[in-house]
């Protein structure tokens, strides 16, 4: 296992994080700007006794990952917008069958083929709503190569804990940034293991059933059809549909406080709060520091968890702040969630389309305008 301090690309750090989390199966299909994850997994997994396969497309990649997870192995795939779109039906299957798995989406500029090499944050809503039907996922947003490592591990832990597809929503900036990454020795890394039916009931979270994997004698039936607690299809029962869909959603919603993570900077007396995630949270921090030097009461709420959306943080702040400034590298996606939670507090969107990142000066200018 790789440990120590390394100069790594974000994508490489993600691959190392997966290995440290116990991922031993990767299925993928090359696509910029995520390809280095597959390439590193192809090199690294066999060394640690894991399987790498390059599938015929992204539909096959997520499908193989779901199969591997049911065979009892932690599994991951990585892609970018076009591939993420192709994966959506089976992300729904993973949600419906409560299959722990990790999907890395290194967002690039869309729609369609868009600008393959240009970073974006345009898949934020798709990550939550991309597959049909009511379901919940978890999505995390890294802002450094170190976090590509740390949050990949966190994604695996959350996926196992809640039996849910978990998405690392990275952007092309972070995935391609070369930075110092500290990899702790394995014994210092918290790794959550899957809970099977043999796990004592006290060990399990409410609403999350234990997982009986294939080949262990449980003779489990897994289906994407609406199913009862035995896994048997119940295509006509209103009661079973209601019970299942509610539980699939509520196991995330009811545990949101345990799942959601944000980072606060200078929020205590802030009058204007910048809300940022991923790459833009870096210039945002700089801008807020500059604003403070200028005597402006600015603060930063950095979203680490994007889904479930950290609405409590926004609701709490909206009771006393004057305005929110939301930074996104899209034409306005997560800002809708902020507006929903801000309940009337002014919300301004600073949108970036195309490769450039917000500069601290533009953010500072926006802060000055609303302060």
């Amino acid at each position: 296992m790789l440990t120590g301090t390394h100069f790594l690309q974000g994508n490489a750090a993600c691959a190392e994080g997966a290995i440290a989390a116990g991922c031993r199966f990767f299925a993928g299909y090359p696509i910029t700007p995520s390809t280095e994850i597959a390439e590193r997994m192809a090199r690294r997994l066999p060394e640690v006794g894991g399987v790498f396969i390059q599938m015929e497309d992204e539909i096959g990649a997520i499908a193989a990952v779901i199969g591997a997870s049911w065979a009892g192995v932690k599994a991951m795939t990585a892609t970018s917008g076009p591939g993420f779109s192709l994966m959506q039906e089976n992300i729904g299957l993973a949600a419906m069958t409560e299959t722990p798995c990790v999907i890395v989406d290194v967002m690039r500029a869309g729609p369609s083929t868009g600008q393959p090499t240009k970073p974006s944050q345009q898949d934020v809503m798709q990550a939550k709503w991309g597959s049909h039907g009511d379901y919940e996922v978890i999505a995390l947003s890294p802002a450094s190569a170190q976090e590509m490592f740390d949050f990949t591990i966190e994604c695996f832990n959350l996926a196992e804990e809640y039996r849910v597809p978990t998405i690392l929503l990275a952007d092309g900036f972070i995935a391609h940034a070369w930075e110092r990454v500290v990899i702790p020795p394995p014994e210092e890394i918290k790794v959550v293991e899957r809970k099977g039916p043999e796990a004592p009931p006290g060990d399990r979270l409410d609403l999350v059933p234990p997982m009986a994997c294939f080949g262990r004698g449980y003779r489990v039936h897994v289906t994407g059809l609406t199913h009862d607690e035995r896994g048997y299809p119940q295509a006509d029962s209103v009661e079973v549909q209601r019970r299942l869909v509610k539980r699939l959603c509520d196991k995330i919603r009811a545990n949101a406080d345990r799942i959601v993570k944000t980072k606060a900077f200078a929020l205590d007396d802030a009058e204007v709060v910048v809300i940022a995630y991923g790459a833009p949270s870096r210039p945002a921090l700089k801008a807020v520091k500059m604003a403070r030097e200028n005597g402006l009461k600015a603060g930063l709420l950095r979203l680490i968890t994007l889904w479930p959306f950290p609405e409590k943080d926004v609701i709490r702040l909206s009771s006393h702040v004057k305005a929110f400034i939301v930074l996104e590298m899209n034409y306005g996606q997560l800002v809708r969630e902020v507006e929903r939670a801000a309940k009337g507090t002014a919300v301004t969107l600073l949108s970036k389309l195309g490769e450039e990142l917000h500069t601290p000066y533009e953010i500072l200018r926006a802060l000055k305008e609303v302060c």
Binding site: L2, H6, F7, L8, Q9, A12, R24, F25, A27, R40, R43, R44, P46, E47, V48, G49, G50, V51, I53, M55, E56, D57, I59, G60, A63, A64, V65, I66, G67, A68, S69, W70, A71, G72, V73, A75, E89, N90, L93, W178, F214, G215, R216, G217, Y218, R219, V220, H221, V222, T223, G224, L225, Y232, P233
Partner: protein, 284 residues
Amino acid sequence: MVEKLTFTHPLSKYLRVDRLPHIWCEGCGNGIVLNCFIRALDELGANLDELVVVSGIGCIGRIAGYVNVDSFHTTHGRAIAIATGIKLANPRLKVVVISGDGDLFAIGGNHFIHAARRNVNLTVICVNNFNYGMTGGQLGPTTPLDSITTTSPYGNVESPFNLAHLAASSGAVYVARWTAFHIHELTKSIKASLKRRGFTFIEVISPCPELYGRYNKMGRGVDMMNWLKRVSEVRHGCDPAKAEVSSSKIVVGEFVSVDKPTYDQLIYQLMERVKGGSSVEGGG
């Protein structure tokens, strides 16, 4: 006092009997395939705890819910890709895909040819009823020319795949075709394919009297079975390219049987070779 006698079918341990009756129509070939499959398991003394049945979506896709083993009823077309993940993650498991002509060769065709090319160690059984049964009898990739379906109401103008030929040319190590009439031969082929290593493929031509049969005036289930009996011709070792399927002739038999290293063998050998090494120690 009269003692109440209860009988259990000798093969019921292979079925989730609490899921019966099944959803299939009277005269459908799907039940015959299920029967042959569990008979093959019984005759082989298969370890049911190390067997996984994976299906896609369709009438035959429901088979995964009836067999009393670990089973996955996946999304439409994706059974082989999911089975690939299962097999590679745990090569001890015997993984069997049972699905329809539309599922495996229209929406899932890409996964089929690539799994065959890689020689992923799977048994794939395609129940070919010449149409999409589940959605009400539309045309599919095996619908014969001129056939009437709900989406070819004036006759089908598309040429059908020869599935055995496609499987063989994609790299399958074992290829056989039977019909729902050939229960003994089919059971034998299922046994043979379960014992082999590599991508094995069995096509079962199967009556769908409810839809394909009705639209093409082929009579009831028995009439379709009589038709299968009448037109099929056993030709073991026949070149799959020449193994015709038409209303007047269906060539059946074991067409291909070759040996090749399987994908999981190769990948685990590779793993043994590089295991413990580190291509990244001391750097990025």
